[in-house]
Symmetry: C2
Subunit: 190 residues, 2 copies
DNA sequence: TAAAATGTACACAGGTTAGTATACCTAGGT
DNA sequence: ACCTAGGTATACTAACCTGTGTACATTTTA
């Protein structure tokens, strides 16, 4: 049986709890209880809490980035338009009542041990997001597309942090205005 | 006895451990052991682990922002120069081998409960940093100083996150280049 | 039909956590 | 000389943590 539903239930329960409370603060008993599945079964699917965390992060990464890109593409057609639409999408994200910052950044904060699998998954997710932004900048035929992409990433990450700190989605608007200036300055054509 | 040295030893040991490992991951036994002070004495000075965390965050906030501002002011005289020097200072910070992201962001990630004292301390620290940046922008007589300050804050916070994720201080350079463009665009005069 | 995987229920091991109890020591102030 | 406050040392509680043992039920698949 591929993609057992129990397994997915556990991952979803874990994700909700980890997002809201952090990783160390949530025990496996709480997760299994929330999923309505015994702890023994949890350990049938994941050989340790760390494996469950890894699976949850990978699951979240896939869905989250997928939704993110689809939302961006639904908001604008042109590459430049999409580059800016990114900030509208994050603003909506910040507005959700269950928003609590970037799960990957949180995970890296709680698991600082160099080279840990958890850290690698988080880093890979960030790389893929960066690639996506870089692709948009390149399609927009802006000069210094790579550098522009880096700068836009900084604005996004900064906006995430400040949205979490201030419990406000205003940071997304500030970031968008900054991005407009940076794009403008990057020249309309290559 | 004011400002007992034992108390400070405990705070410093706690800070080192929290910075490196996070808050939940470090127990009071580890802290008292590292400080060379018995746990019973720790509980003479702080009535709970949370109180110790609060004291450590406040202690860190004071010293960190002080050092930060002094470094900035040592690097440039003009307000615009200082606005840019901020990124040189953070770059140096990222380069330290014990750098592991922003302690306050980490604390907020691990203690998400709304209105918690720990969160308030972190938020206040961010407010003060914002005020400092805003002050520089105003002294530089740039138009939209307040908005520019918000944008620069986003670049700083984004750079912190990416420095932690990629274990690289490169993000500071990208942020600085973006800041140059934003400042330029904010007009040389009001 | 039989074997294998997945599931339940529940107790338990072994370790760590925050925080306390008890008893004693020492230095300073009055 | 005495009392109080800060400190030491050690053992403890009670809760919580991850992970397992055991015995049995259900479902899948060959």
């Amino acid at each position: 049986m591929i993609g057992s539903s129990k397994r997915e239930q556990l991952i979803q329960a874990a994700l909700e709890l980890f997002s809201k409370n952090g990783f160390h603060a949530v025990g496996v008993d709480t997760i299994s209880e929330k999923a309505g599945i015994t702890k023994r079964t949890l350990y049938h699917h994941f050989k340790s809490k760390e494996e469950l965390i890894l699976a949850a992060l990978r699951y979240y990464d896939e869905r989250f980035r997928n939704d993110f890109m689809r939302s961006v593409e639904g908001k604008a057609e042109s590459p430049v338009g999409r580059l800016l639409a990114v900030f509208d999408v994050v603003e909506e994200w910040f507005g959700k009542e269950d928003f609590s910052g970037c799960l990957f950044v949180g995970a890296m904060g709680e698991y600082p041990e160099e080279g840990m699998p958890i850290r690698r998954v988080c880093q890979e997710s960030k790389v893929l997001t960066r690639e996506y932004i870089k692709g948009l900048a390149e399609k927009a035929q802006l000069k210094d597309a790579k550098q522009l992409a880096e700068q836009i990433i900084l604005l996004i990450e900064g906006a995430i942090t400040m949205a979490q700190v201030n419990k406000s989605s205003l940071s997304a608007l500030h970031a968008k205005k900054a991005a407009e200036v940076l794009i403008q300055n990057s020249g309309p054509f290559v």
